[in-house]
């Protein structure tokens, strides 16, 4: 669903100058500016949910961070850091009961940043849909090779179900996905949203792309804030 620029400016109470400044600084991706013909010529539209959520976040954070820092927080780039078991135990969004299962199914002792985001997504799915540990183990095994292909985090993690079995799918957030009708879409999570929140919340603990130390802010509350 799209929102016109005029509606966006009215709804969010921002000016043209702010909107285009944020575009220049990379806080709003260029591909979100969608030009469409209208009866007055041409008008710019945006993906409504995404842009409203992004502007709300910018407005909340702009007094605490410079635009450059905010761009890093919201950027889909991947942190180079690896996460050990000790790190996972610090990250509240990772379900502690699932940690042994993650080590077993991934077959290694530390995780990349993208893998961490998927582990958080799995933890949220588990909480939301009462998945068993066996279900999560199967999902982890099934998706682990696909995660290696991801160089950025602007992906949607989609939980599907068929004949009592769960499946995961990762697809770029700017595209739609069509699935076999026998696969039922259960839930989806935007990895980029998790990434922004994690970068904010744990930047002190893990130096996640934020250079200056500032007061800690908590963004994920029960995982609900980041869900699409």
């Amino acid at each position: 669903m799209l929102i016109s620029k005029k509606e966006l400016l009215q709804e969010t109470n921002i000016s043209y100058g702010q909107l285009y400044r944020w575009k220049r600084e990379g806080l709003i991706p260029e591909e979100w500016f969608i030009k469409q013909p209208t009866f007055t010529g041409q008008e710019t539209f945006f993906p409504k949910k995404k842009i409203l959520r992004r502007i709300k976040k910018i407005q909340e954070l702009k007094n605490q961070y410079s635009l450059e820092e905010l761009a890093r927080i919201l950027a889909p780039e991947v942190s180079e850091r690896n996460f050990t078991e000790q790190d996972l135990r610090i990250i509240e969004e990772v379900d502690l009961a699932l940690i042994p299962c993650f080590f077993k199914s991934f077959g290694k002792n530390n995780f990349t940043y993208v893998e961490l985001l998927v582990l958080i997504a799995l933890s949220i799915f588990r909480k939301r849909h009462n998945l068993s540990i066996d279900d999560v183990e199967m999902l982890s095994k099934g998706i682990k090779d696909a995660i290696n292909e991801l160089k950025q985090v602007d992906y949607i993690c989609l939980l599907l179900k068929s004949n009592g079995e769960y499946f995961l799918m990762l697809y770029p957030e700017n595209t739609g996905v069509m699935t076999d009708e026998r696969l039922k879409k259960i839930s989806e999570i935007n990895l980029n949203e998790i990434s922004s929140s994690i970068k904010l919340k744990y930047r002190k603990s893990f130096h996640l792309d934020i250079e200056e130390e500032e007061n800690e802010l908590l963004f994920i509350e029960g995982g609900e804030e980041v869900l699409t």
Binding site: Q10, S15, Y16, Y20, K23
Partner: protein, 282 residues
């Protein structure tokens, strides 16, 4: 103690020098040199140069240079930093960081035969363009001042954008945009905080504060009409402008403007010498 060298013919230098004057090809590696003058092809790697003037081709790899004035094709590989870089010729780089990057000489007496092409990522404080340029890379500068046509396929983004020449390309997104009205200006979209299109330019405080090489005193347009299809900004001031769609918070449509549709939020002024088809308060 630093030594100086005057050389005729090909040379290789390594070490600390005060001044190198070379007529011929030269290679400078792992060096710290205050001044280099070279007529011939020059290759510099892992070195720091204070002042470089060359006529010929330049190949530089991971260098830091104070000032470059060069005529010839140049290639920069690795991360190269130059404080003030004035180039005439093709330029290719991985990443070139400059406080000031200037294409072409300021003097109109110097003629170049063809349009140079620049490829790569150019970053810095101020980019000044004095001769026609084909840009096939990215420019990330706070201030962009164009006194000659620039062709590029990407939107130009910067804090301050000044256009004193004809220009035909897509879009500009700048905090502040100034366009000297001219019949050779054909732009698709200009967005930002402040957009001004005027028939003359008097440098204000903001402009004077910008670090730059050129002198831009009291410029006047050819009295032509600039064509900018869409303008969106908080504050808009237009003279001699033809536009399809304008929207802003405070809008002034001055003399000799032809506008299809204006949408404004707070204030609007329309000159009796302007033609505006439709005005909408939003």
């Amino acid at each position: 103690m630093r030594s100086s060298s005057i050389a005729f013919g090909d040379r290789h230098y390594e070490g600390n020098y005060n001044r190198l004057a070379i007529a011929g090809d030269a290679e400078i590696t792992n060096s710290d040199v205050k001044k280099v003058y070279c007529a011939g092809d020059l290759s510099i790697s892992k070195s720091t140069i204070g002042n470089l003037k060359f006529a010929g081709d330049l190949e530089a790899d991971s260098v830091t240079i104070g000032t470059i004035k060069g005529a010839g094709d140049a290639s920069f590989s690795g991360l190269c930093k130059v404080d003030n870089c004035v180039m005439v010729g093709d330029l290719e780089c991985d990443m070139l960081e400059c406080e000031i990057l200037q294409n072409g000489p300021r003097s109109e007496r110097v003629n170049t035969t063809s349009t140079p092409t620049w490829e790569g990522v150019f970053k810095g404080e101020t980019f000044e363009n004095f001769k026609e340029l084909a840009l096939e890379g990215e420019i990330e500068f706070n201030n962009i001042i164009l006194s000659a046509p620039l062709s590029t396929k990407t939107e130009i983004s910067c804090d301050n954008f000044y256009l004193f020449s004809g220009l035909t390309f897509g879009s500009i997104n700048a905090e502040h945009t100034f366009i000297l009205a001219s019949s050779n200006v054909h732009l698709d979209t200009v967005t930002g905080c402040t957009v001004e299109v005027k028939k003359d330019f008097k440098p204000g405080k903001e402009f004077k504060r910008i670090r730059k090489n050129g002198k831009y005193n009291n410029l006047c347009s050819d009295n032509g009409i600039a064509s900018v299809d869409n303008i969106e900004a908080d504050n808009i001031y237009l003279e001699n402008t033809k536009s399809k769609y304008i929207c802003g918070i405070n809008v002034v449509i001055g003399d000799l403007c032809i506008v299809d549709r204006v949408e404004y939020q707070d204030t609007i002024e329309i000159s009796h010498k302007a033609i505006v088809n439709e005005v909408v308060k939003t």
